[in-house]
């Protein structure tokens, strides 16, 4: 990885010379271990807790109950019947019936075929061991004393399951069509959205990089807008556009927007900027000599496109496809809002946990969801590592030549895409200002009275800003310092490789899964970190970890541009590395530092998936409020809050631009010398 390190002259292999660790080395390794530990505690441990939860099952242990039955006169003869034996002799319950959820109950009357609630026969029941639990009605009995009941009361006896471990949850999952159908649905949605988004984004990027159409700057700006809003906002706009009272519902010819159609359209909206950025980077660099060769060989433009342009951009296309696939399959907000009866994995997790309090099944669905997400991520990394430089020193950068007809077509196409993006946002803003759609179309600010709705009111908005700022400041410091340590410290190869791996992992973990894993890990009274549960701190930690990878890669890219000579010079001048870090590295990399902080801020404002499990009544968030208000049916206020997030992020971006310009002027002047 560090080419500057390898020696051009190969020396005969000898004993490794191990230098004594300097003070700096110790500090840097210590720092690295601290940040690596941070990643272990905030990522590896919670994921382990979740995995182990998915194997935590509940079973009815019939052997731990004993019964006695009296004769008609109510006299017991002392014969003790064991529950397990009774079940064997009567065949009342099969093995599958005994697998349970935490909330299951099992009636006992089927053990007694001649049971009648009118008969004078009396029954006795007790727990044969300390772990047994049963209910009479809803009163709990967990001691081992005999309890005598008449038959009318005995039919109200319900056994409670005990905890055990096993793969029952997975068996249950794959034998419930309502659950495992979601795998198919999720994959289907992700594949369709990926094809549509990558195609649209490719031509958009092509228009911006390879044509001479006008307004390129404006189009670039519009294409990035969807990054600034939560992924569920397009869902709300689609309700207003294509719902049963929608403005354009005729365009769907009777099809329902609630379901796959809505999810795909919304997914295209929110994944577009990601695909566009990656493909645009791939198309930006290309060797003009290849095109000259194609022309001199009299290749048609069509043939040139397939033999030169597409192969040149293939890594970008593949990478974009997997990024989009991953975003769609792990997204939760959009299918929640517009998915109707079309179940997908991410929403299933939410339904299991929030709706049914079935944490075990939530963990199982999470494990299922992690598989495609990790696969997509791994393939993407593999492809990226294969990418070789397209531009050699002898390359001639490609310059598009004006072609009025083609340029006009591209302008029309780009305008259509831009209209789609702006239209979605405009519809949300419009919906937010209408008094009572569709019966009272007067303008009003009623929908901004968030304090009267679910979701936590205006406090949520300010909490979100606080979360954004904290995440930006703390996250940037941790990520950048960590990247510096791993990039610039000496030796310690294994440790550094491990650290790189840990830093890559968060990207492969869907937000829903991370959030749920945090519940299992931090909401455990035995965990010394338990007190941060339900505070702002856990939201900040979760968000930093969730968005760690991209920030880390940005920092590493910036740091790689700085020669390791700086470290050598500083140590030969006997200056501590930390001083170099503060005086030279950070100022030189300031543009990257600012990029990381705006990335973290914007994502903290818009993320829903991880934090939806972690917010508390005191730390409600704007993005979650959008979800909750929509959930309660307050769709217009949800749109209003979503647009507040958009404006806040837009302002943050503008401030970031101004700050970057100012900082660049002050600290980066040397670049132009």
């Amino acid at each position: 990885m560090n080419l500057s390190h390898s020696n051009p002259v190969t020396l005969p292999a000898g004993r490794d010379v191990r230098g004594k660790l300097s003070r700096d080395d110790v500090i840097m390794r210590g720092g690295m271990i601290v940040i690596a530990l941070y990643l272990v505690v905030t990522l590896a441990f919670p994921l382990y807790a979740m995995l182990s939860k998915s194997f935590s099952t509940f079973r009815f242990e019939l052997a731990q109950y004993e019964f006695q039955v009296s004769d008609e006169a109510g006299v017991f003869d002392g014969t003790i019947l064991n529950g397990a034996q009774l079940n064997q002799s009567t065949g009342a319950y099969s093995g599958g019936d005994l697998a349970a959820g935490s909330d299951s109950r099992l009636a006992v009357t089927p053990f007694f075929p001649d049971f009648s609630f009118r008969s004078p026969v009396q029954y006795q029941i007790r727990n044969a061991s300390d772990t047994g639990r049963f209910l009479v009605g809803s009163d709990l009995y967990d001691d081992t004393d005999w309890l005598t009941l008449d038959s009318n009361t005995f039919r109200r006896v319900q056994l409670r399951p005990v905890k055990s471990r096993g793969i029952d949850n997975f068996v249950n999952y794959f034998s419930t069509p309502a659950l495992f159908n979601s795998i198919k649905n999720s994959l289907w949605i992700a594949v369709v959205s990926t094809i549509v988004t990558v195609t649209l984004a490719f031509w958009f990027a092509y228009a911006l990089n390879r044509s001479c159409m006008r307004f390129k700057g404006l189009f670039r700006l519009v294409a990035m807008a969807p990054i600034l809003v939560p992924s569920l906002l397009p869902g709300i706009a689609l309700v207003y556009l294509f719902g049963n009272q929608g403005m354009l519902k005729e365009l769907l010819f009777g099809a329902s927007i609630y379901g796959p159609i809505g999810i795909v359209i919304g997914s295209v909206f929110f994944t577009f900027p990601h695909a566009f950025l990656i493909i645009s980077t791939a198309l930006a660099i290309s060797d003009a000599r290849l095109y000259e060769a194609a022309i001199s060989l009299r290749a048609t433009p069509w043939r040139t496109f397939w033999t030169v342009t597409i192969p040149g951009a293939r890594y970008g296309l593949i990478s974009a496809a997997f990024v989009v696939f991953n975003l769609v399959i792990t997204d939760f907000g959009l299918p929640k809002v517009i998915g109707g009866q079309f179940n997908v994995l991410a929403v299933d997790i939410y339904k299991q946990v929030i709706g049914q309090q079935n944490f075990e099944m939530g963990a199982v669905v999470s494990v299922v969801l992690v598989v495609p997400a990790i696969l997509a991520f791994a393939i993407d990394r593999l492809v990226q590592s294969k990418q070789v430089a397209l531009l050699s020193a002898r390359s001639v950068p490609y310059q598009p030549t004006p072609n009025p007809r083609v340029d006009r077509i591209f302008l029309a196409y780009s305008t259509l895409v831009a209209l789609f993006i702006v239209g979605i946002l405009a519809v949300c803003q419009f919906a937010a200002l209408i008094k009572f759609w569709p019966y009272d179309l007067n303008l009003s600010l009623n929908n901004y009275a968030f304090d009267k709705m679910d979701g936590g009111g205006w406090a949520s908005y300010f909490n979100s800003i606080k979360l954004g700022l904290l995440t930006a400041v703390i996250g940037t410091s941790v990520v950048f310092f960590g990247a510096y340590l791993v990039e610039k410290s000496n030796g310690f190869k294994v440790g550094r490789a491990l650290f790189q791996m840990f830093a890559m992992l968060p990207m492969a973990i869907p937000g829903m899964v991370l959030g749920l894993a945090y519940i299992f890990f931090f909401n455990n009274p035995a965990n010394p970190l338990n007190p941060i549960y339900g505070t702002m701190a856990i939201l900040v930690i979760c968000t930093v970890t969730h968005f760690y990878t991209v920030s880390h890669l940005t920092a590493v890219t910036a740091l790689k541009q700085m020669d390791r000579e700086f470290e050598s010079v500083s140590s030969s001048l006997k200056q501590p590395t930390m001083k170099l870090f503060a005086r030279v590295t950070v100022p030189v990399c300031l543009p990257a530092v600012l990029d990381i902080s705006i990335y973290l801020f914007v994502n903290a404002m818009t993320t829903v998936s991880a934090v939806v499990f972690l917010y508390s009544p005191k730390t409600t968030l704007a993005s979650v409020a959008v979800l909750n208000m929509d959930d309660a049916g307050d769709i217009a206020p949800a749109a209003a809050m979503g647009m507040m997030i958009f404006y806040t992020n837009a302002v943050a971006r503008i401030l970031h631009l101004i700050a970057s310009k100012g900082v660049l002027a002050r600290t980066q002047a040397w670049r132009n010398r």
Partner: protein, 340 residues
């Protein structure tokens, strides 16, 4: 840094001092009552008991229940004030509630008191299922108002009805459990099979069907009466229909969490929660309260609602909840294609 911290401390102590001076005991109270009502409830309570300060932890029914169950071995709450009785029955079956008969419990309607002696929980008010019917959109679609649950299963309403998913919504579950009680096990599922053909889709929350009916998105929403009355007051062209067979309901109730540090203060709060003042306080939003003779009619509430409330068997609902939800999911949740 230290200066601003000092300022903060000063500010904080200032707000604390400005509150009830004699606040000596603090109670952590979990609740699912609407946020806008909480301040009013605390104020009315503190007027009589200025020495007990209430720290609210509020969230929706499902989440508060999940939170309480998750804290089963290490309870954080002292009192639960305003949570669905079905949820409290779950807690009771986990042995998490401290049984207590508050002073004056005999004055309450028997329906509103837990069956054990002493009761594990006492009721406050009821929320009742109802059908929200958008007259404008229904007329456009050529529909006539249904009068009973059975009517709703008529094929002419195909795609025009929306209801909450019982797996995520308490309101949805009380509908399903009431149908199983009204029509019997077999009849209930047969009814839901027929109704399912008419359902446009199942929503996550219980209030959304009524709000969607109010906005005309789907003309008929199975929801609860309180929500309908609110939307009607907001100007929606709604009619609130009470199906003739009777309607399911659940109540908000109060209970002491076993293991509380301050049992005396908790008892004081529960005593207060069933007084006449408290019942009058609940009446502002709920037409049906636990103490007979207190309730005054609430604006826009449908008539005959009280009489239509079924004799709800909460024990049946709580003990069969897991099994009913599993069956429901197997029957209706696997349909992936939405019906237009």
């Amino acid at each position: 840094m230290t200066n601003s911290k000092k300022m903060l401390a000063l500010l904080l102590s200032g707000t604390l001092l400005a509150g009830p001076l004699a606040a000596e005991t603090e109670l952590t109270v979990y609740t699912a009552v609407e946020a806008e009502d909480l301040a009013r409830y605390a104020e009315t309570f503190n007027a009589q008991h200025p020495d007990i300060k209430i720290n609210w932890v509020r969230d929706s029914t499902g989440i508060i229940t999940a939170k309480l169950l998750a804290e089963r071995d290490n309870p954080q709450a002292d009192v639960v004030w305003g949570l669905a009785a079905t949820s409290l029955l779950l807690l009771k079956s986990e042995g998490m509630l401290e049984a207590y008969a508050p002073a004056g419990v005999d004055l309450l309607d028997k329906k509103f008191v837990d069956s054990s002696t002493p009761p594990a929980w006492v009721g406050m008010d009821a929320w009742v299922a109802a059908v929200c019917y958008n007259t404008v959109e229904a007329e456009k679609a050529g529909l006539t108002p249904p009068t009973s649950w059975k009517d709703l299963a008529d094929p002419k309403y195909k795609g025009h009805v929306i209801m909450p998913n019982p797996n995520s919504s308490g309101t949805g579950f009380l509908d399903v459990s009431s149908w199983l009680q009204l029509f019997g096990e077999e009849g209930g599922w047969a009814y839901m099979d027929a109704l399912h053909e008419n359902i446009a889709r199942y929503t996550h929350s219980g209030s959304k069907p009524c709000k969607l009916a109010a906005s005309g998105e789907i003309p008929i929403g199975i929801s609860f009466a309180f929500r309908g009355a609110k939307s009607k007051a907001a100007g929606a062209p709604l009619e609130i229909i009470v199906p003739s067979e009777g309607v399911g309901w659940d109540m908000e109730a109060t209970a002491i969490v076993a293991g509380t540090d301050d049992l005396e203060a908790a008892k004081t709060l529960v005593d207060f929660s069933i007084t006449k003042e408290a019942n009058e306080m609940y009446n502002t939003g709920y037409a049906v309260v636990a103490m007979p003779g207190v309730a005054k009619p609430v604006e826009y509430f449908p008539e005959g609602l009280l009489e239509a409330m079924i004799d709800n068997d909460f024990e049946f609902a709580a003990n069969n909840r897991a099994a009913i939800l599993k069956e429901w999911q197997a029957r209706y949740d696997s349909k992936s294609e939405p019906k237009g």
